[in-house]
Symmetry: C2
Subunit: 211 residues, 2 copies
DNA sequence: TGTACATCAGTGAACGCGCGTTCACTGATGTAC
DNA sequence: TGTACATCAGTGAACGCGCGTTCACTGATGTAC
């Protein structure tokens, strides 16, 4: 072979990663094969040495983006003590930084809508990852609400996603920052009203304006 | 003229309406001129007697969808006594029916993401309508929270949107219905915890499973 | 160790197709006389 | 009231362009002898 054994796998991975960023930024129709291959330092013809079709790649890009999101949450959860995990996830989710970087951000908020118009196979995989995200979030809920953790996770996720999408729609001005701040408070509302030992901190200590 | 004065305006309105439905269903890239004109009973060439370009139409379709959403909320608010308005809006928003009919549903949840990739002009108009939606929702908040009505409206809207999008992503099975039910509860959480005279009703009396 | 052959990731021209846009034309109706 | 002309929404062929896909070819490297 012309290249080492790992070379092909690396090239393929690079294409998938680039595709997953563009996918989040511009949607499935915004992912063009020529541009993608150019980004990877190759020409368009070589694409079919790695993927059967464009749809094939789109499916991989969806999966990659979701796995990245799940991994990021898992990692973040490991880094802080259990009672701060949910707060940590929510507060890092609803930031100007995350809002302004769709391409490297949460796949769920960037792709949920697009996932409805995609190959059945890709869509099914997407829903599986969604369920996994709910499960990961549920694991971070305080023990006191372990019975309702699943439902609380869904509620929290909905508020996080909704706020992030609204904030992105609003741009990056005061209104958008307000949405982020309100979202942080709302997403953590149920946790804070819990009869746990209060953290005593103000809810959001983000750079954005306080709520 | 070949046709009556109103004829052209009617044809144009029909095209915009069809486009706004398709826009919500399939996104901007899913709106093709030929298909659209066929739906209106015309041929593609006639399109340019009504619009300067495809982008022009897309802009109008965005605006139309948003105005429709705002109008629907205003109308629904008028139909019920003031203390039930928010509940009425939320409960009719997070239903299987609304989930399954994207084309005729809330423009905000269907188009927020797409709005980021559109003409600056169209996008600006979209954000204006978003602010109007927040204002309408704020008007439906209980008087007791009039001071925070704006922020509560943002929080409620985020949860509503997030839950609807998640439910749509999940399909139309048990998991999806659960998301709707949890969303209804979460969106109304702040209102229900208010020291107003409790309505005494269970939060959700929807066909979907109870929370 | 050196030589001939096989492999296959990557190249770049070419093809087909769909789609937005243009344009010469149509023909029913309003208007002018 | 009747006739000639102007208007313009709508028609459908044609055009250009971008994009996904195909394909004959390349050439560096692994393998067989």
């Amino acid at each position: 072979m012309r290249y080492s054994k790992e070379h092909k796998a690396e090239t393929r991975a690079r294409i998938v990663k680039n595709a997953s960023i563009r996918l989040r930024e511009r949607g499935p129709d915004g992912v063009g094969i020529s541009d993608l291959m150019k980004d990877a330092g190759l020409t368009h013809g070589g694409f079919y040495a790695h993927f059967r079709s464009r749809d094939d790649l789109i499916g991989e890009a969806f999966a990659h983006a979701m796995e990245e999101a799940i991994g990021r949450w898992r990692k973040k959860a490991e880094q802080v003590p259990s009672e701060q995990r949910l707060v940590s996830i929510v507060n890092s989710y609803l930031t100007p930084h995350h809002r302004d970087d769709v391409g490297n951000g949460c796949a769920l908020s960037a792709l949920s809508m697009e996932a409805m118009r995609v190959t059945p196979r890709t869509r099914k995989a997407f829903v599986s990852k969604l369920e996994e995200m709910v499960a990961v979030l549920a694991e971070q809920m305080p023990e006191s609400m372990s019975k309702t953790a699943h439902k609380e996770a869904i509620a929290t996720l909905a508020t996080m996603m909704g706020a992030l999408i609204l904030a992105r729609t609003a741009g990056n001005g005061d209104f958008s920052n307000e949405i982020l701040a309100v979202g942080r408070d709302a997403a953590l509302r149920s946790v804070k009203s819990q009869p746990s030992k209060g953290t005593g901190k103000r809810s959001s200590r983000m750079p954005a304006r306080s709520v």
